[in-house]
Symmetry: C2
């Protein structure tokens, strides 16, 4: 089953957001069948009940995680020599398909990374190799956007990974999928990319989940980025970055330059009395 | 105003959770006056409407952040020489007053740190020194529990900072407070602690918010830990760790050893086919 989160762009329920099953029609067409929020026990009924034609809906990020974790150095067999290590991405950095990845003018070393996103379905703590995959609701595509320059200067990676729009997710969640041997592809309008395989990762999804839940509890709707098995691609304004995973679909996001230039904290020196001294 | 989040432990609304204003009575007594969720525009009305005696309620963490950020190296004037740096704590690590901080048997180098927690009240991006404090809903006490051993082995600090129960918050949010010159005290049953002052931090609350929102957007209910102006205290099972901030109150949490020993990921080697090889 494919589960999307959609916002209605037409009809009497205009503006409503709901989870929905993706239903394929007789030809290439498909529609959305609204369902209750699969990540909340206390979910109220879906705000829409009739099937929604694809043209009347806009895909949103397919879940609303409170926690998004990525795996550091999980890109090749040699990384197995290192202890597993996780980083947070801000859940506010999540965007849906079609939304723009935004770069500040000074951000010239930002890469896209194509990764399998694991969407958690149950409260998950101390998972074992035998129970890990049973805690998964499904899988979607992620673009783990990363500022390489900030990654060097900020060892916590918050500046590199947690900026607004740096975690595109979508287009929808596939609930029945074996994550051990998927093909993952990152491409843009210049570069068709090179297919990579989940088997190229240092640690597979089961190992990642066993590690993470040995440290902390994950909850329904949380997202784990499993690591990038392939190479990254530099993002520039005007690009169209695409993550494709066989069996799920394509996640496409344009790249653009942020419109406003931020005031930087370095320009002012604020005294502890709250006074501002420009220098 | 003091704003708490309470769970009712008695009466017809047993089990309900609501935000509430703390109302002081004629003597030392106080009660709670339920209010709507201050962090949601679409908040439904509070589930309880009558005043609740203090004895009929249990304090919860005073907000439900999606993002909890702390400031690295913001503990003394010398830290101003370093660029500001933020780390995430999992929002699932948040616990309320009275709840236990849990340590695994092997965690013998875990410290408490007393910090001012800044609770965000508005969508906040590119704050300036002039606008920063206007984005704040209020302030509460935080215990930024940190595993020193994990801090050394995991440079992303996820293992050191994001474990379950590692972010006690409370007892309530004070909405009218000047954060520039507060006294912060960490103590336990052995050590009365040494009062520290917010003016001892390398960067004050305004500077921290200007920096963070130059990188990313904060939303209502998000929490920023401003840094520990004083020394930390080692936590051991059986301890009672207390954070006291003048003008807010006391946040008290017992420390205990986790009851179950976790299965560790290192014990098994999982092949990419999903098979498990014990070694």
């Amino acid at each position: 089953m494919m589960v999307a989160r959609i916002r209605l762009t037409d009809g009497p329920d205009l503006g409503n957001t709901t989870y929905a099953q993706v239903v394929h029609g007789p030809d290439q067409s498909f529609s959305y069948l609204p369902i209750d929020d699969p990540f909340r026990r206390d979910a109220v009924s879906a705000p829409v009940t009739r099937p929604v034609p694809a043209a009347h809906a806009e895909l949103q990020a397919p879940c609303e995680p409170r926690v998004v974790l990525g795996m550091a150095h999980n890109t090749g067999p040699d990384d197995r020599l290192l202890a597993p290590q996780a980083f947070h991405k801000s859940p506010h950095s999540v965007i849906g398909p079609g939304r723009s990845i935004e770069l500040e003018p000074e951000q010239t070393q930002v890469d896209g990374e194509a990764e399998l996103a694991v969407v958690i379905g149950t409260r998950a703590r101390r998972l074992t190799p035998e129970t890990a995959l049973a805690a998964v609701y499904g899988y979607t595509c992620a673009n783990d956007v990363t500022d390489r320059a900030a990654q060097v200067s900020d060892s916590r990676w918050t500046e590199a990974k947690s900026r607004d729009t740096f975690t595109p997710l979508g287009p929808w969640i596939r609930t029945d999928l074996d994550p051990t041997d998927l093909t993952v592809l990152l491409s843009d309008q210049r570069d068709r990319g090179t297919p990579a395989h989940m088997t190229d990762l240092a640690r597979n999804v089961t190992e990642v989940l066993v590690y993470l839940t040995s440290v902390l509890t994950l909850y329904p709707g949380d997202v784990v980025l499993a690591g990038a098995p392939g190479r990254s691609l530099r993002l520039r304004p005007g690009d169209t970055s695409q993550v494709s995973i066989a069996g799920i679909g394509d996640l496409v996001n344009p790249v653009r330059q942020t419109e406003t230039t931020p005031p930087t904290a370095e320009l002012v020196n604020i005294t502890h009395s709250g006074k501002v001294a420009h220098r």
